[in-house]
Protein backbone atom coordinates (compact mmCIF):
# COMPACT_ATOMS: atom_id res chain seq x y z
CA UNK A 1 0.00 0.00 0.00
CA UNK A 2 1.15 3.53 -0.80
CA UNK A 3 -0.19 6.47 1.20
CA UNK A 4 0.45 10.02 0.10
CA UNK A 5 -0.69 12.58 2.65
CA UNK A 6 -0.92 16.35 2.08
CA UNK A 7 2.21 16.17 -0.01
CA UNK A 8 3.77 19.46 -1.12
CA UNK A 9 6.99 19.73 -3.13
CA UNK A 10 8.38 23.06 -4.27
CA UNK A 11 11.44 23.64 -6.42
CA UNK A 12 12.26 27.28 -5.80
CA UNK A 13 9.25 29.25 -7.00
CA UNK A 14 7.72 26.28 -8.81
CA UNK A 15 5.23 24.13 -6.93
CA UNK A 16 5.47 20.68 -8.50
CA UNK A 17 3.16 18.91 -6.04
CA UNK A 18 0.52 20.93 -4.25
CA UNK A 19 -1.20 19.22 -1.33
CA UNK A 20 -1.65 15.79 -2.86
CA UNK A 21 -3.45 13.08 -0.88
CA UNK A 22 -4.26 9.59 -2.15
CA UNK A 23 -3.92 5.92 -1.32
CA UNK A 24 -2.90 3.14 -3.67
CA UNK A 25 -4.28 -0.26 -2.63
CA UNK A 26 -3.10 -3.78 -3.38
CA UNK A 27 -4.71 -6.01 -5.97
CA UNK A 28 -5.21 -3.37 -8.64
CA UNK A 29 -3.27 -1.69 -11.35
CA UNK A 30 -3.68 1.95 -10.41
CA UNK A 31 -3.08 4.44 -13.18
CA UNK A 32 -1.36 7.65 -12.16
CA UNK A 33 -2.47 10.10 -14.79
CA UNK A 34 -1.78 13.68 -15.61
CA UNK A 35 -0.42 15.87 -18.37
CA UNK A 36 3.33 16.20 -18.69
CA UNK A 37 4.59 18.35 -15.84
CA UNK A 38 1.65 17.53 -13.57
CA UNK A 39 3.94 16.22 -10.82
CA UNK A 40 3.76 12.45 -11.33
CA UNK A 41 7.50 11.77 -11.40
CA UNK A 42 8.13 14.14 -8.49
CA UNK A 43 5.49 12.34 -6.43
CA UNK A 44 7.07 8.98 -7.22
CA UNK A 45 10.52 10.30 -6.30
CA UNK A 46 9.18 11.51 -2.96
CA UNK A 47 7.61 8.09 -2.34
CA UNK A 48 11.03 6.52 -3.02
CA UNK A 49 12.80 8.89 -0.65
CA UNK A 50 14.77 10.44 -3.52
CA UNK A 51 13.25 13.90 -3.18
CA UNK A 52 12.51 15.36 0.23
CA UNK A 53 8.95 16.71 0.53
CA UNK A 54 8.53 20.41 1.33
CA UNK A 55 5.67 19.34 3.61
CA UNK A 56 3.40 16.35 4.03
CA UNK A 57 4.58 12.80 3.67
CA UNK A 58 4.48 9.58 1.69
CA UNK A 59 4.37 6.14 3.30
CA UNK A 60 5.01 2.71 1.84
CA UNK A 61 3.42 -0.13 3.78
CA UNK A 62 2.94 2.37 6.64
CA UNK A 63 6.66 3.20 6.74
CA UNK A 64 8.62 6.19 5.61
CA UNK A 65 10.92 5.03 2.80
CA UNK A 66 13.98 6.26 4.68
CA UNK A 67 13.20 3.79 7.45
CA UNK A 68 12.99 0.76 5.18
CA UNK A 69 15.77 -1.76 5.58
CA UNK A 70 16.59 -3.61 2.37
CA UNK A 71 13.82 -1.64 0.64
CA UNK A 72 13.91 -3.66 -2.57
CA UNK A 73 11.99 -6.35 -0.69
CA UNK A 74 9.19 -3.83 -0.08
CA UNK A 75 9.11 -1.60 -3.14
CA UNK A 76 10.30 -2.11 -6.67
CA UNK A 77 10.44 0.85 -8.99
CA UNK A 78 11.25 1.70 -12.57
CA UNK A 79 11.70 5.45 -12.94
CA UNK A 80 13.96 5.93 -15.94
CA UNK A 81 15.01 2.88 -17.90
CA UNK A 82 17.94 4.74 -19.45
CA UNK A 83 19.53 5.45 -16.06
CA UNK A 84 22.36 2.93 -16.42
CA UNK A 85 26.12 2.87 -16.63
CA UNK A 86 26.72 2.27 -20.35
CA UNK A 87 29.97 0.35 -19.80
CA UNK A 88 28.53 -2.22 -17.42
CA UNK A 89 26.96 -5.49 -18.49
CA UNK A 90 23.31 -6.24 -17.77
CA UNK A 91 24.28 -8.95 -15.31
CA UNK A 92 26.79 -6.78 -13.43
CA UNK A 93 24.22 -4.00 -13.19
CA UNK A 94 21.56 -6.32 -11.84
CA UNK A 95 24.01 -8.04 -9.51
CA UNK A 96 25.27 -4.78 -8.00
CA UNK A 97 21.71 -3.70 -7.21
CA UNK A 98 20.83 -7.16 -5.86
CA UNK A 99 23.86 -7.33 -3.57
CA UNK A 100 23.02 -3.99 -1.95
CA UNK A 101 19.90 -5.64 -0.55
CA UNK A 102 21.37 -9.03 0.24
CA UNK A 103 19.87 -10.70 -2.83
CA UNK A 104 21.91 -13.49 -4.34
CA UNK A 105 23.15 -14.42 -7.78
CA UNK A 106 20.44 -17.04 -8.30
CA UNK A 107 17.67 -14.46 -8.15
CA UNK A 108 19.62 -12.31 -10.62
CA UNK A 109 19.73 -15.20 -13.09
CA UNK A 110 16.01 -15.85 -12.56
CA UNK A 111 15.14 -12.23 -13.27
CA UNK A 112 17.26 -12.24 -16.43
CA UNK A 113 15.33 -15.31 -17.61
CA UNK A 114 11.95 -13.86 -16.61
CA UNK A 115 12.56 -10.70 -18.62
CA UNK A 116 14.06 -12.58 -21.54
CA UNK A 117 17.50 -11.03 -21.17
CA UNK A 118 19.63 -14.09 -20.40
CA UNK A 119 21.05 -14.15 -23.93
CA UNK A 120 22.34 -10.57 -23.59
CA UNK A 121 23.31 -10.78 -19.90
CA UNK A 122 26.99 -10.28 -20.63
CA UNK A 123 26.58 -7.52 -23.15
CA UNK A 124 27.36 -3.91 -22.32
CA UNK A 125 24.34 -1.73 -21.70
CA UNK A 126 25.36 0.90 -24.24
CA UNK A 127 24.27 -1.51 -26.96
CA UNK A 128 20.82 -2.05 -25.45
CA UNK A 129 17.66 -0.87 -27.17
CA UNK A 130 15.10 1.05 -25.16
CA UNK A 131 12.92 -2.05 -24.98
CA UNK A 132 15.79 -4.09 -23.56
CA UNK A 133 16.53 -1.36 -21.02
CA UNK A 134 12.86 -1.34 -19.99
CA UNK A 135 13.03 -5.08 -19.44
CA UNK A 136 16.18 -4.68 -17.38
CA UNK A 137 14.48 -1.95 -15.35
CA UNK A 138 11.62 -4.34 -14.63
CA UNK A 139 14.11 -7.04 -13.66
CA UNK A 140 15.60 -4.57 -11.14
CA UNK A 141 12.15 -3.69 -9.80
CA UNK A 142 11.27 -7.35 -9.27
CA UNK A 143 14.59 -8.41 -7.69
CA UNK A 144 13.30 -8.32 -4.12
CA UNK A 145 9.90 -9.81 -5.00
CA UNK A 146 8.26 -6.68 -3.53
CA UNK A 147 4.55 -6.27 -2.70
CA UNK A 148 4.58 -2.70 -4.03
CA UNK A 149 5.62 -1.73 -7.55
CA UNK A 150 5.88 1.64 -9.26
CA UNK A 151 6.49 2.28 -12.93
CA UNK A 152 6.98 5.77 -14.36
CA UNK A 153 5.79 6.00 -17.97
CA UNK A 154 6.85 2.41 -18.66
CA UNK A 155 5.64 2.24 -22.24
CA UNK A 156 7.23 5.46 -23.47
CA UNK A 157 9.14 4.72 -26.63
CA UNK A 158 8.24 1.03 -26.75
CA UNK A 159 7.02 -0.85 -29.79
CA UNK A 160 3.65 -2.58 -29.85
CA UNK A 161 5.08 -5.88 -28.74
CA UNK A 162 6.90 -4.30 -25.81
CA UNK A 163 3.78 -2.41 -24.74
CA UNK A 164 1.70 -5.59 -24.79
CA UNK A 165 4.38 -7.39 -22.76
CA UNK A 166 4.47 -4.68 -20.06
CA UNK A 167 0.67 -4.43 -19.83
CA UNK A 168 0.28 -8.15 -19.37
CA UNK A 169 3.05 -8.05 -16.80
CA UNK A 170 1.46 -5.30 -14.73
CA UNK A 171 -1.92 -7.00 -14.75
CA UNK A 172 -0.33 -10.27 -13.62
CA UNK A 173 1.45 -8.48 -10.77
CA UNK A 174 -1.81 -6.91 -9.57
CA UNK A 175 -3.67 -10.21 -9.90
CA UNK A 176 -0.97 -11.57 -7.61
CA UNK A 177 -2.24 -9.20 -4.92
CA UNK A 178 0.48 -6.59 -5.32
CA UNK A 179 0.11 -2.83 -5.27
CA UNK A 180 0.90 -1.53 -8.75
CA UNK A 181 1.14 2.19 -9.53
CA UNK A 182 1.75 3.11 -13.16
CA UNK A 183 2.10 6.66 -14.37
CA UNK A 184 1.20 7.87 -17.82
CA UNK A 185 0.20 11.06 -19.55
CA UNK A 186 -1.98 9.13 -21.98
CA UNK A 187 -5.44 8.04 -20.94
CA UNK A 188 -5.72 5.72 -23.93
CA UNK A 189 -2.78 3.82 -22.46
CA UNK A 190 -4.28 3.52 -19.00
CA UNK A 191 -7.71 2.56 -20.31
CA UNK A 192 -6.32 -0.81 -21.26
CA UNK A 193 -4.32 -1.54 -18.14
CA UNK A 194 -5.59 0.27 -15.08
CA UNK A 195 -8.78 -0.41 -13.19
CA UNK A 196 -8.28 2.41 -10.74
CA UNK A 197 -7.18 5.93 -11.60
CA UNK A 198 -5.55 8.78 -9.78
CA UNK A 199 -5.67 11.86 -11.98
CA UNK A 200 -3.57 14.91 -11.13
CA UNK A 201 -2.98 18.25 -12.79
CA UNK A 202 -0.57 20.98 -11.71
CA UNK A 203 0.32 18.95 -8.68
CA UNK A 204 -3.25 18.69 -7.41
CA UNK A 205 -5.61 15.75 -7.20
CA UNK A 206 -8.32 15.93 -9.83
CA UNK A 207 -9.90 12.51 -9.49
CA UNK A 208 -9.39 9.35 -7.46
CA UNK A 209 -11.80 6.90 -8.99
CA UNK A 210 -12.32 3.75 -11.00
CA UNK A 211 -11.99 3.76 -14.74
CA UNK A 212 -15.73 3.05 -15.14
CA UNK A 213 -16.79 5.82 -12.75
CA UNK A 214 -14.65 8.35 -14.55
CA UNK A 215 -16.60 7.80 -17.76
CA UNK A 216 -19.98 7.96 -15.98
CA UNK A 217 -19.20 11.15 -14.15
CA UNK A 218 -18.18 12.98 -17.27
CA UNK A 219 -20.33 15.94 -18.22
CA UNK A 220 -20.22 14.84 -21.81
CA UNK A 221 -22.77 12.04 -21.43
CA UNK A 222 -25.75 12.91 -23.62
CA UNK A 223 -28.42 11.44 -25.87
CA UNK A 224 -28.46 11.92 -29.62
CA UNK A 225 -32.02 12.33 -30.94
CA UNK A 226 -33.09 12.42 -34.60
CA UNK A 227 -36.59 13.24 -35.57
CA UNK A 228 -38.38 14.69 -38.65
CA UNK A 229 -40.05 17.13 -36.23
CA UNK A 230 -36.87 18.00 -34.37
CA UNK A 231 -37.70 21.63 -33.59
CA UNK A 232 -41.04 20.70 -32.03
CA UNK A 233 -39.47 17.89 -29.98
CA UNK A 234 -36.66 20.21 -28.85
CA UNK A 235 -39.19 22.63 -27.36
CA UNK A 236 -40.93 19.78 -25.50
CA UNK A 237 -37.60 18.54 -24.10
CA UNK A 238 -36.61 22.05 -23.02
CA UNK A 239 -39.97 22.41 -21.28
CA UNK A 240 -38.94 19.44 -19.11
CA UNK A 241 -35.86 21.37 -17.96
CA UNK A 242 -33.31 19.53 -20.09
CA UNK A 243 -30.70 21.11 -22.36
CA UNK A 244 -30.78 20.70 -26.10
CA UNK A 245 -27.89 21.45 -28.41
CA UNK A 246 -28.68 21.16 -32.10
CA UNK A 247 -26.01 19.39 -34.08
CA UNK A 248 -24.93 20.38 -37.58
CA UNK A 249 -26.66 17.46 -39.28
CA UNK A 250 -30.01 18.25 -37.66
CA UNK A 251 -29.63 15.90 -34.70
CA UNK A 252 -30.26 17.00 -31.14
CA UNK A 253 -27.74 16.48 -28.35
CA UNK A 254 -29.78 16.22 -25.15
CA UNK A 255 -28.41 16.36 -21.64
CA UNK A 256 -30.55 16.22 -18.50
CA UNK A 257 -33.10 13.72 -19.79
CA UNK A 258 -32.35 10.07 -20.47
CA UNK A 259 -33.23 8.11 -23.61
CA UNK A 260 -36.38 6.31 -22.26
CA UNK A 261 -37.82 9.61 -21.01
CA UNK A 262 -37.21 11.28 -24.38
CA UNK A 263 -38.81 8.31 -26.18
CA UNK A 264 -41.88 8.43 -23.95
CA UNK A 265 -42.18 12.19 -24.40
CA UNK A 266 -42.07 11.85 -28.17
CA UNK A 267 -44.64 9.04 -28.13
CA UNK A 268 -47.05 11.10 -25.97
CA UNK A 269 -47.06 13.79 -28.62
CA UNK A 270 -47.09 11.43 -31.58
CA UNK A 271 -43.70 12.58 -32.80
CA UNK A 272 -41.71 10.02 -34.77
CA UNK A 273 -38.19 9.36 -33.56
CA UNK A 274 -35.65 8.03 -36.04
CA UNK A 275 -32.73 7.72 -33.68
CA UNK A 276 -32.30 7.71 -29.93
CA UNK A 277 -28.68 7.02 -28.98
CA UNK A 278 -27.27 7.39 -25.46
CA UNK A 279 -23.66 8.53 -25.84
CA UNK A 280 -20.93 8.28 -23.26
CA UNK A 281 -17.59 9.90 -23.89
CA UNK A 282 -14.46 7.90 -24.40
CA UNK A 283 -12.13 7.64 -21.46
CA UNK A 284 -9.80 9.93 -23.34
CA UNK A 285 -12.44 12.65 -23.58
CA UNK A 286 -13.41 12.29 -19.94
CA UNK A 287 -9.75 12.69 -19.07
CA UNK A 288 -9.31 15.74 -21.28
CA UNK A 289 -12.38 17.30 -19.66
CA UNK A 290 -10.80 16.79 -16.28
CA UNK A 291 -7.32 17.97 -17.05
CA UNK A 292 -8.14 20.58 -19.66
CA UNK A 293 -7.90 23.42 -17.17
CA UNK A 294 -4.76 22.10 -15.56
CA UNK A 295 -2.54 21.55 -18.55
CA UNK A 296 0.49 23.76 -18.22
CA UNK A 297 1.16 24.30 -21.87
CA UNK A 298 -1.82 24.04 -24.18
CA UNK A 299 -1.80 24.44 -27.89
CA UNK A 300 -3.40 27.71 -28.93
CA UNK A 301 -5.70 25.99 -31.39
CA UNK A 302 -7.38 22.69 -30.68
CA UNK A 303 -5.67 19.96 -32.63
CA UNK A 304 -6.50 16.30 -32.91
CA UNK A 305 -4.65 14.11 -30.39
CA UNK A 306 -2.30 12.14 -32.59
CA UNK A 307 -1.53 9.68 -29.86
CA UNK A 308 -5.12 8.75 -29.08
CA UNK A 309 -7.16 8.13 -32.17
CA UNK A 310 -10.73 7.15 -31.42
CA UNK A 311 -12.48 6.11 -34.59
CA UNK A 312 -15.79 4.98 -33.00
CA UNK A 313 -16.28 8.32 -31.36
CA UNK A 314 -15.37 10.24 -34.48
CA UNK A 315 -18.05 8.48 -36.50
CA UNK A 316 -20.89 9.26 -34.08
CA UNK A 317 -20.14 12.95 -33.81
Amino acid sequence: MIEVDQLVKRFGAVTAVDGLTFTVRPGHVTGFLGPNGAGKTTTMKVILGLDAPTSGRALVNHNSYQDLIRPLHQVGALLDAGALHPGRTAEAHLLSVAQSNGIGRRRVTEMLQLTGLEAVANRKLKGFSLGMKQRLGIAVALLGDPPVLMFDEPVNGLDTEGIAWIRQFMRALAADGRTVLVSSHLMSEMAQTADRLIVIGRGRLIADTTTAQLIESSTRSDVLVRSPRAAELADLIKARGATVNPEEDGGLAVTGLDAPAIGDLAAEHGIAVHALIPRSPSLEEAYLDLTGESTDYRAATPSPQPSSPNPERASTR
Binding site: L48, R70, L72, Q74, H85, R88, A92, N101, G102
Partner: protein, 260 residues
Amino acid sequence: MTATAVPLAVRARDVLTSEWTKLRSTRSTYWTLLVAVATPIGLSALVAVTLVNAPRHGAQVDPLLPGLISQEYAVLAVGVLGVLAFSTEYSTGLIRITFAAVPRRRAVLAAKAAVIGAVTLVAGEVVAFASFALVQAVLSGHREGVSLSRPGVPGAVLADGLLLFVVATMGLGLGAIVRHTAGGIAALVGLIFLPAIVGLLPAPWGGRIGRFTLLDAAQQVTALHPATNLFAPALSLLVLLAWPALTLLAAALLITRRDA
Protein backbone atom coordinates in the same frame (compact mmCIF):
# COMPACT_ATOMS: atom_id res chain seq x y z
CA MET B 1 13.89 -13.15 8.36
CA THR B 2 12.14 -9.83 8.74
CA ALA B 3 13.84 -6.80 7.32
CA THR B 4 14.40 -5.15 10.69
CA ALA B 5 16.24 -8.23 11.93
CA VAL B 6 19.09 -7.70 9.47
CA PRO B 7 22.15 -6.78 11.55
CA LEU B 8 24.04 -3.62 10.75
CA ALA B 9 27.21 -5.57 9.89
CA VAL B 10 25.33 -7.61 7.27
CA ARG B 11 23.85 -4.46 5.74
CA ALA B 12 27.29 -2.86 5.64
CA ARG B 13 28.65 -5.96 3.90
CA ASP B 14 25.75 -5.79 1.40
CA VAL B 15 26.59 -2.23 0.38
CA LEU B 16 30.32 -2.97 0.25
CA THR B 17 29.76 -6.01 -1.99
CA SER B 18 27.52 -3.98 -4.25
CA GLU B 19 30.05 -1.17 -4.63
CA TRP B 20 32.83 -3.69 -5.19
CA THR B 21 30.81 -5.22 -8.04
CA LYS B 22 30.28 -1.75 -9.52
CA LEU B 23 33.99 -0.91 -9.35
CA ARG B 24 35.01 -4.24 -10.89
CA SER B 25 32.53 -4.04 -13.73
CA THR B 26 33.61 -0.87 -15.52
CA ARG B 27 36.60 -0.63 -17.78
CA SER B 28 37.61 2.84 -16.55
CA THR B 29 38.65 1.26 -13.25
CA TYR B 30 41.27 -0.89 -14.94
CA TRP B 31 42.56 1.88 -17.18
CA THR B 32 42.94 4.45 -14.43
CA LEU B 33 44.65 1.90 -12.16
CA LEU B 34 46.98 0.79 -14.92
CA VAL B 35 47.99 4.40 -15.57
CA ALA B 36 48.29 5.06 -11.83
CA VAL B 37 50.61 2.09 -11.30
CA ALA B 38 52.64 1.88 -14.50
CA THR B 39 53.52 5.53 -15.11
CA PRO B 40 55.01 6.41 -11.70
CA ILE B 41 57.13 3.27 -11.55
CA GLY B 42 58.61 4.00 -14.95
CA LEU B 43 58.82 7.72 -14.31
CA SER B 44 60.61 7.33 -10.96
CA ALA B 45 63.54 5.54 -12.58
CA LEU B 46 63.73 8.30 -15.17
CA VAL B 47 63.66 11.01 -12.49
CA ALA B 48 66.41 9.19 -10.59
CA VAL B 49 68.63 9.01 -13.66
CA THR B 50 68.05 12.69 -14.36
CA LEU B 51 68.81 13.64 -10.76
CA VAL B 52 72.12 11.83 -10.49
CA ASN B 53 73.29 13.24 -13.77
CA ALA B 54 72.16 16.81 -13.11
CA PRO B 55 74.91 19.27 -12.15
CA ARG B 56 74.67 19.88 -8.42
CA HIS B 57 76.39 22.40 -6.25
CA GLY B 58 77.02 20.41 -3.14
CA ALA B 59 73.30 19.84 -2.52
CA GLN B 60 72.32 16.32 -1.51
CA VAL B 61 69.68 14.40 -3.43
CA ASP B 62 66.86 13.15 -1.23
CA PRO B 63 66.93 9.46 -2.13
CA LEU B 64 63.14 9.19 -1.76
CA LEU B 65 62.21 12.24 -3.80
CA PRO B 66 62.06 10.58 -7.25
CA GLY B 67 59.42 8.13 -6.00
CA LEU B 68 57.18 10.94 -4.82
CA ILE B 69 57.63 13.26 -7.78
CA SER B 70 56.56 10.53 -10.16
CA GLN B 71 53.48 9.76 -8.07
CA GLU B 72 52.32 13.34 -8.39
CA TYR B 73 51.33 12.48 -11.95
CA ALA B 74 49.66 9.22 -11.00
CA VAL B 75 47.37 11.01 -8.57
CA LEU B 76 45.39 12.45 -11.45
CA ALA B 77 44.44 8.99 -12.69
CA VAL B 78 43.18 7.72 -9.33
CA GLY B 79 41.62 11.10 -8.60
CA VAL B 80 39.56 10.68 -11.76
CA LEU B 81 38.65 7.16 -10.66
CA GLY B 82 37.32 8.63 -7.41
CA VAL B 83 35.37 11.42 -9.10
CA LEU B 84 33.83 8.99 -11.61
CA ALA B 85 32.51 6.71 -8.85
CA PHE B 86 29.86 9.33 -8.08
CA SER B 87 29.75 11.61 -11.10
CA THR B 88 28.80 8.85 -13.56
CA GLU B 89 25.98 7.75 -11.27
CA TYR B 90 24.65 11.29 -11.13
CA SER B 91 25.06 12.01 -14.82
CA THR B 92 23.41 8.77 -15.94
CA GLY B 93 20.65 8.86 -13.30
CA LEU B 94 21.85 5.55 -11.89
CA ILE B 95 22.16 7.29 -8.52
CA ARG B 96 18.35 7.05 -8.17
CA ILE B 97 18.51 3.27 -8.38
CA THR B 98 21.40 3.28 -5.91
CA PHE B 99 19.67 5.51 -3.37
CA ALA B 100 16.31 3.77 -3.77
CA ALA B 101 18.09 0.50 -2.98
CA VAL B 102 20.07 2.02 -0.10
CA PRO B 103 18.17 4.99 1.38
CA ARG B 104 20.96 5.55 3.92
CA ARG B 105 23.02 7.56 1.49
CA ARG B 106 25.98 7.97 3.79
CA ALA B 107 26.34 4.19 3.76
CA VAL B 108 26.78 4.40 -0.01
CA LEU B 109 29.40 7.13 0.39
CA ALA B 110 31.21 5.14 3.07
CA ALA B 111 31.13 1.93 1.01
CA LYS B 112 32.45 3.65 -2.10
CA ALA B 113 35.18 5.32 -0.04
CA ALA B 114 36.13 1.98 1.54
CA VAL B 115 36.26 0.10 -1.77
CA ILE B 116 38.12 2.77 -3.72
CA GLY B 117 40.30 3.55 -0.70
CA ALA B 118 41.34 -0.08 -0.33
CA VAL B 119 42.13 -0.54 -4.02
CA THR B 120 44.15 2.68 -4.29
CA LEU B 121 45.95 2.04 -1.01
CA VAL B 122 47.16 -1.31 -2.31
CA ALA B 123 48.03 0.23 -5.69
CA GLY B 124 49.83 3.12 -3.96
CA GLU B 125 51.95 0.85 -1.79
CA VAL B 126 52.83 -1.32 -4.77
CA VAL B 127 53.93 1.79 -6.61
CA ALA B 128 55.82 3.16 -3.60
CA PHE B 129 57.84 0.01 -2.95
CA ALA B 130 58.42 -0.78 -6.62
CA SER B 131 59.56 2.79 -7.29
CA PHE B 132 61.77 2.67 -4.22
CA ALA B 133 63.48 -0.49 -5.38
CA LEU B 134 63.98 0.87 -8.89
CA VAL B 135 65.19 4.32 -7.76
CA GLN B 136 67.65 2.87 -5.26
CA ALA B 137 68.98 0.54 -7.92
CA VAL B 138 69.75 3.60 -10.06
CA LEU B 139 71.08 5.70 -7.16
CA SER B 140 73.25 3.02 -5.61
CA GLY B 141 75.21 2.90 -8.84
CA HIS B 142 76.23 6.42 -7.88
CA ARG B 143 76.63 5.60 -4.18
CA GLU B 144 73.65 7.74 -3.25
CA GLY B 145 71.05 5.07 -2.60
CA VAL B 146 69.61 4.10 0.75
CA SER B 147 68.61 0.73 2.11
CA LEU B 148 65.11 -0.12 3.32
CA SER B 149 66.66 -1.11 6.62
CA ARG B 150 67.84 2.42 7.35
CA PRO B 151 65.79 4.07 10.15
CA GLY B 152 63.01 6.25 8.83
CA VAL B 153 63.04 4.75 5.37
CA PRO B 154 60.26 2.11 5.70
CA GLY B 155 57.92 4.69 7.23
CA ALA B 156 58.65 7.20 4.50
CA VAL B 157 58.04 4.65 1.74
CA LEU B 158 54.78 3.53 3.39
CA ALA B 159 53.69 7.17 3.64
CA ASP B 160 54.60 7.64 -0.02
CA GLY B 161 52.10 4.89 -0.83
CA LEU B 162 49.35 6.87 0.88
CA LEU B 163 49.22 9.57 -1.75
CA LEU B 164 47.07 7.66 -4.26
CA PHE B 165 44.62 6.71 -1.49
CA VAL B 166 44.42 10.32 -0.30
CA VAL B 167 43.72 11.73 -3.75
CA ALA B 168 41.29 8.96 -4.81
CA THR B 169 39.10 9.38 -1.72
CA MET B 170 39.26 13.15 -2.09
CA GLY B 171 38.15 12.75 -5.72
CA LEU B 172 35.28 10.57 -4.54
CA GLY B 173 34.13 13.27 -2.13
CA LEU B 174 34.38 15.92 -4.84
CA GLY B 175 32.41 13.72 -7.25
CA ALA B 176 29.62 13.50 -4.66
CA ILE B 177 29.72 17.25 -4.04
CA VAL B 178 29.98 18.50 -7.62
CA ARG B 179 27.99 15.63 -9.25
CA HIS B 180 29.52 16.26 -12.69
CA THR B 181 32.58 14.51 -14.07
CA ALA B 182 34.24 17.53 -15.67
CA GLY B 183 33.47 19.80 -12.74
CA GLY B 184 34.66 17.21 -10.25
CA ILE B 185 37.97 16.71 -12.05
CA ALA B 186 38.45 20.48 -12.35
CA ALA B 187 37.82 20.88 -8.63
CA LEU B 188 40.27 18.08 -7.88
CA VAL B 189 43.03 19.53 -10.03
CA GLY B 190 42.37 22.94 -8.53
CA LEU B 191 42.58 21.71 -4.97
CA ILE B 192 45.75 19.70 -5.55
CA PHE B 193 47.79 21.95 -7.80
CA LEU B 194 46.60 25.53 -7.29
CA PRO B 195 47.78 25.70 -3.65
CA ALA B 196 51.18 24.52 -4.86
CA ILE B 197 51.55 27.90 -6.50
CA VAL B 198 51.55 29.64 -3.10
CA GLY B 199 54.74 27.74 -2.38
CA LEU B 200 56.36 30.10 -4.87
CA LEU B 201 55.51 33.12 -2.74
CA PRO B 202 58.51 34.87 -1.12
CA ALA B 203 59.54 33.69 2.34
CA PRO B 204 58.08 33.37 4.85
CA TRP B 205 54.67 33.26 3.13
CA GLY B 206 55.45 30.42 0.76
CA GLY B 207 56.15 28.08 3.63
CA ARG B 208 53.48 29.39 5.98
CA ILE B 209 50.68 28.74 3.56
CA GLY B 210 52.44 26.00 1.65
CA ARG B 211 52.64 23.66 4.62
CA PHE B 212 48.85 23.28 4.49
CA THR B 213 48.88 22.21 0.85
CA LEU B 214 48.45 18.59 -0.10
CA LEU B 215 51.59 18.22 -2.18
CA ASP B 216 53.92 19.99 0.29
CA ALA B 217 52.49 17.89 3.10
CA ALA B 218 53.09 14.76 1.03
CA GLN B 219 56.69 15.76 0.36
CA GLN B 220 57.28 16.48 4.02
CA VAL B 221 55.89 13.08 5.05
CA THR B 222 58.01 11.15 2.59
CA ALA B 223 61.26 13.11 2.65
CA LEU B 224 64.23 11.61 4.35
CA HIS B 225 65.44 15.13 5.06
CA PRO B 226 62.27 17.15 5.84
CA ALA B 227 62.18 20.83 4.99
CA THR B 228 62.52 23.15 7.95
CA ASN B 229 59.99 25.76 6.90
CA LEU B 230 57.07 23.29 6.78
CA PHE B 231 55.24 21.29 9.48
CA ALA B 232 57.01 18.35 11.09
CA PRO B 233 56.32 15.03 9.29
CA ALA B 234 53.78 13.80 11.88
CA LEU B 235 51.76 17.00 11.59
CA SER B 236 52.13 16.97 7.83
CA LEU B 237 50.64 13.47 7.79
CA LEU B 238 47.58 14.90 9.55
CA VAL B 239 47.39 17.70 6.99
CA LEU B 240 47.64 15.13 4.21
CA LEU B 241 44.79 13.03 5.62
CA ALA B 242 42.70 16.09 6.48
CA TRP B 243 42.19 16.90 2.80
CA PRO B 244 40.15 13.77 1.94
CA ALA B 245 38.62 13.69 5.42
CA LEU B 246 37.19 17.20 5.11
CA THR B 247 36.06 16.60 1.52
CA LEU B 248 34.25 13.41 2.51
CA LEU B 249 32.72 15.18 5.50
CA ALA B 250 31.34 17.91 3.25
CA ALA B 251 30.04 15.23 0.88
CA ALA B 252 28.36 13.40 3.79
CA LEU B 253 26.62 16.59 4.86
CA LEU B 254 25.41 17.45 1.36
CA ILE B 255 24.46 13.99 0.15
CA THR B 256 21.44 13.64 2.44
CA ARG B 257 20.23 17.19 1.91
CA ARG B 258 19.93 17.23 -1.83
CA ASP B 259 17.30 15.64 -4.01
CA ALA B 260 18.63 12.79 -6.10
